[in-house]
């Protein structure tokens, strides 16, 4: 008797909890969606209206804006399509390099005991704290000397050394990777690199997915470095394309700019949705037990 009552009040309590939490989550969702909605709305509005303020009501100018974008891109040396492709060429390999080699570095420091281990870790932590803004100029001059300016290499290869990603991976390994599992693999006769690829990486899946999303988005939206590094129009990435639309300082067609922004956002959301599956799946249910 007493037990049933307790259970009933417990489930009633759960129901209220669920409602409160649901409402709070919905409020946060609205908050997060609002500017995105505004962006989409602006893509449907005429340039002059956009300049006058914000509106939540869609207007019928989307196709017109889209056509104007298509016309405008003729005057530029890079089309929307090739800008998307250029962004992919830079973002995808940079993301893969950053995530894979950062996991590898973190693994090296987490799993092995070597003389320089502490120094290496301290160094990685220290360089994470270097302000970006000031090294970029020196970086540019150095690339100029190497003849690598206006090339994708300085945008892709440095991703191998991404201290913040290493830091994340190491933190994650500390709470998920047990040395016993690695030792078990060694007993089975697996080589070190194979152990890393076959045992450690699958366990790291949620962390890899999370960091892959963050890195991809950071690369995709990166304006600062490509602005400095790229000069040939045909090589320009998507943010530079949007910036070029915007650069006619006094003759900006905002409708066109928002349509272009809209196009830049869509692939990101798609990549995010595809990868978020791994985060939801979770390591605890996969790697460790399997």
């Amino acid at each position: 008797m007493a037990d049933t009552k307790k259970l009933q009040s417990y489930s009633a309590n759960q129901r209220t909890q669920k409602i409160i939490r649901g409402v709070v989550c919905i409020l946060f969702c609205i908050l997060s969606l609002l500017p995105f909605v505004l962006l989409v709305m602006n893509a449907t509005r005429a340039s002059d209206d956009i300049q006058m303020g914000v509106s939540l009501i869609p207007s019928g100018h989307f196709l017109e804006n889209w056509k104007n974008l298509m016309i405008k891109q003729q005057g530029m040396q890079v089309t929307l399509w090739s800008a998307v492709r250029n962004s992919m060429i830079v973002s995808a390999p940079a993301t893969i390099l950053a995530v894979y080699f950062s996991s590898m570095t973190a693994y090296g420091i987490q799993v092995y005991d070597f003389k320089m281990k502490k120094a290496a870790w301290a160094f990685i932590m220290a360089v994470m704290m270097v302000p970006n803004q000031i090294t970029i100029i020196g970086f540019y001059r150095f690339m100029l000397k190497l003849g690598l300016v206006d090339n994708y290499i300085p945008l892709i290869l440095p991703a191998i050394a991404a201290p913040a990603v290493v830091f994340f991976m190491k933190q994650y390994m500390e709470s998920t990777l047990s040395i016993e599992m690695i030792e078990a693999a060694r007993i089975d006769g697996a080589g070190e690199l194979k152990t890393f690829n076959r045992i450690a990486m699958p366990i790291m899946k949620p962390a890899v997915a999370t960091q892959a999303i963050f890195q991809f988005i950071a690369q995709w939206n990166n304006l600062f470095t490509p602005t400095i590094m790229l000069t040939t129009d045909t090589k320009k990435t998507l943010p530079l394309f949007v910036q070029m639309l915007n650069s006619d300082q006094f003759r900006v067609d905002y409708g066109v700019v928002y349509v272009a922004l809209f196009v830049t956002v869509v692939p990101l959301i798609a990549v995010y949705l595809i990868l978020s599956r791994y985060i939801v799946a979770g390591v605890a249910l996969g790697g460790v037990k399997g």
Partner: protein, 325 residues
Amino acid sequence: MKKRRKKVRYGKYGYLFVAPFFLTYAFFQLWPLINTFFYSMLNYYKRNGREFSEFCGLQNFQNILGLVSGEKAYVLHYFKNTFIIWGMNFIPQILVSLLLAAWLTDNKVRLRSRGAVKVITYLPSVITAASISVLFHALFSQYGPITMTLKNLGIIGSSFNFLESSAGTRGLISFILFWMWYGNTTLLLISGVLGISPDLYEAADIDGANGRAKFFRITLPLLKPIMLYVLITSAIGGLQMYDIPALFNVSNTGYVGFPNDNSTTVAMYIMRLYNSDVGKAAAVSVLLFIVTLIISLIFFKFGTSNEEKAEARRRKKRLSEGGGC
């Protein structure tokens, strides 16, 4: 003892595994970095595109700290701005993210469409900083729709202008940063929570622990490494904060944050100086680096003491489990 012997045998692989990172870093980043330290000790300025430089020891540091007569310590003001903006963004951000992460991973009170919540709250960080600044500026400008609504509701005075008020501008920048990154932080924390072995929760259930106890006794302590990551990366990112404040309420050069220089961050100051006084800009960068280092070390000290205990506990548990099977 046994463990140690094994580690030593495999030690050389450690070098191989960290080699790509260090080679890449050395090749692409180290030289510019060393240059920055070197420049900070030069009286190195540009005028009309010509560069002038000579060694001057620590004079740049004395200048930026206002230790020489005729020089004012502007950098302290910019540090203050940066700290205020970061703090007002980070504290609510970590609290909200923790709450959401706990709710979204709670199997007892299963919310519907949890995936959708994650996806949606993360969306803001997908849009580039430039467009976000433009959007928020439009929303909160003098006649912006949100400003007008707040005025009509009587929440703010009829003559209030966010962009003319230091608190208003700093608050909005903090809010933009909060809004951009809380979904991201929630995701990080969720991936941390999911990394915690479900066995621990099962064991706690058997012991009859309630949700709150599980959160404070298991989730929170085991989230420490990820929390530490969030805290430190956010602090580093926060101290180097540039994109949003440099695009929000600024002079047309982008280096002076209105009103009254009160939304100018250290990174904006570095960029402002870089065009005219490389030595001084480098000195401010080095100072920023030192401050970041100190703050991170403090966080580390705080973070690791408890974490190691938890770590030890967890490992022991795993070991015993492994033995049992």
